[in-house]
């Protein structure tokens, strides 16, 4: 076991040689099941989770002076966190964790920022920002008022924030994203099922909907702005209780235009797009 630890530590040191000094010393390292689950709590600072193709975990970083790292591990799971020793606000700790690619993480922070690279799991921060990227099996990311930047290739993505900015890009397939007041931007051409909701934040969607995809946009006072490729093929149903509907595809003749609703097809109407607002403006225009 001791040899294994030394080997892992040496391997990790080689892998992390570049910039290791800035990252900080190895705090923990050991073998771990490739599909292990990792639970982490970090109040302040930052945590960067990096998936790698090894059956081991390495934790590097700098913990705050008034904090201690608690760490419990078995072969299939790890529970770790940083907690204050003294009273008062938490000082920032900065962790970098290398974990098995097929593992799953559950991270919770108060104000600490979270960065994930190829890591699946649940990410929650109260006021910290969350930035996730890579190919993952599924992700659930939530913040109270932090911003989310999700550049993922995944079959399933769920994202929530309050005031923060939510950016969905990459190639997720099934997306459920919402904000309260934050702006929601979507640039993800491979979405097959998308639900995008806000209360007062604007929603922007740019691209060409995939063949057979289904989108549902809902907003209360915020605008919904769809910038579609001229070659887009979609059936659009736009309705607003008291907001205006602006159609930039002036050459397209609407199928139906009852009060406060507009229906029209682009191309063969392969994708289905529904937009509903209370008093937010709906804009549809060509790219």
């Amino acid at each position: 076991m001791k040899r294994l630890l030394i080997l892992i530590t040496l391997t990790a040191r080689c892998a992390l040689a570049q910039g290791a000094a800035e990252i900080g010393p190895v705090l923990e390292a050991h073998a771990l099941d490739s599909a292990a689950s990792i639970n982490l709590y970090l109040p302040a600072g930052s945590v960067r989770l990096i998936a790698w193709d090894r059956d081991s975990i390495v934790v590097r970083g700098q913990k705050a002076r008034n904090a201690r790292l608690f760490y419990g591990a078995g072969p299939r799971s790890v529970k770790m966190g940083v907690e204050n020793i003294s009273r008062g606000d938490s000082e920032p700790s900065h962790l970098v964790i290398y974990m098995p690619r097929h593992g799953r993480v559950s991270v919770r922070t108060a104000s600490a920022n979270i960065v994930g690279e190829g890591v699946s799991g649940d990410f929650y921060s109260s006021s910290g920002n969350i930035r996730l990227s890579g190919v993952v099996s599924s992700v659930e990311a939530e913040a109270m008022n932090g911003s989310l930047d999700l550049d993922l290739t995944t079959p399933w993505l769920r994202a929530r924030t309050g005031d923060g900015h939510l950016l969905v890009r990459g190639a997720p397939q099934d997306v459920d994203a919402s904000t309260i007041g934050g702006t929601l931007d979507v640039i993800a051409p491979k979405v097959m099922r998308g639900q995008f909701v806000s209360v007062s934040g604007d929603i922007h969607w740019i691209g060409s909907p995939a063949h057979g995809s289904v989108f549902d946009f809902s907003n209360h006072t915020g605008a919904v702005d769809l910038t579609l490729s001229p070659s887009a093929s979609a059936a659009l149903t736009l309705s607003s209780v008291s907001g205006s509907i602006e159609n930039g595809f002036t050459r397209i003749r609407p199928i139906a235009s009852p009060p406060r609703t507009l229906r029209f097809n682009l191309g063969d109407g392969d994708a289905h797009v529904t937009v509903r607002t209370f008093k937010g403006t709906i804009r549809v225009r060509p790219e």
Binding site: R108, A110, Y124, S126, S127, E142, A143, M144, N145, R160, G162, D163, S178, I180, G181, V197, V199, S200, S218, H220, T221, A235, T237, S239, V241, I255, A256, P258, R263, N265, D268, G269, D270, H272, T274, R276, T277, F278
Partner: protein, 223 residues
């Protein structure tokens, strides 16, 4: 017997006159406002209206309009609810499976309604009743989900009150700010529903806002 707004429920007479459209003008505003907030009375009035319609149709069947006369408005309503319009020259190859799926779904829904309601197997009755029932079922379903979200939101709010003292001030401020935004939206939607109680879009937006509130409270409780 009162509803959640502590107003007394509508009398039997008010329910029947609301259902058959003979409500005196001076009572209409009050009754409409009550129906907008009382799901129990609204459901009862919808049931009475449905029953009256069916009774009327069955007693007047000898002189009932021909199927050809009934079909155009029904078709117009189906077309209006469609995401993809039927091409008059027939569906394209790419949309044909979806159109068949929609058609199969409509037929299945109509059959299900007929079984549930045990409607006499006459085509014209089934179609008309299914349409009316589908609309009221949708409104009821949205109202039910809104009520469920409302109840869950209250439980979460109670929990949040207990946790509030231990929260960081900035987290507390963020929660309050977001809750205020959602509550304003909910209040506006409720007002709009009082003015236009049968607008399904308003009820869907209200259900969405409540879902937002519940999710926000869950996040707040997790913070």
């Amino acid at each position: 017997m009162t509803d959640q707004t502590n107003q007394p429920h509508l009398t039997e007479d008010e329910r029947h006159t609301a259902a058959d459209g003979t409500l005196p003008a001076e009572r209409r505003a009050y009754v409409d406002a009550h129906l907008a907030v009382c799901d129990e009375c609204a459901a009862d009035v919808a049931r009475i209206a449905d029953f009256m319609k069916r009774t009327h149709e069955s007693t007047s069947s000898p002189s009932a309009p021909a199927l050809a006369e009934l079909w155009p408005p029904i078709r117009a309503r189906i077309e209006a609810a469609k995401v993809v319009a039927l091409d008059t020259a027939g569906p394209s190859a790419s949309t044909r499976p979806f159109v068949w799926l929609v058609a199969a779904g409509v037929v299945a829904a109509a059959l299900l309604m007929a079984i549930v309601l045990r409607v006499p197997p006459r085509e014209q009755q089934t179609s008309a009743v299914a349409q009316v029932e589908a609309e009221s079922t949708m409104l009821r379903a949205v109202a039910d989900s809104t009520r469920a979200y409302e109840a869950e939101a209250q439980i979460l709010l109670d929990r949040l009150e207990i946790q509030r003292a231990t929260m960081r001030p900035d987290a507390r401020a963020a929660i309050d700010r977001n809750l205020h935004t959602v509550d304003v939206a909910i209040a506006e939607l409720k007002d709009a529903i009082v003015r236009d109680p049968n607008n399904p879009a308003l009820r869907q937006l209200l259900a969405t806002s409540y879902r937002q509130k519940v999710e926000l409270l869950k996040r707040a409780n997790a913070s």
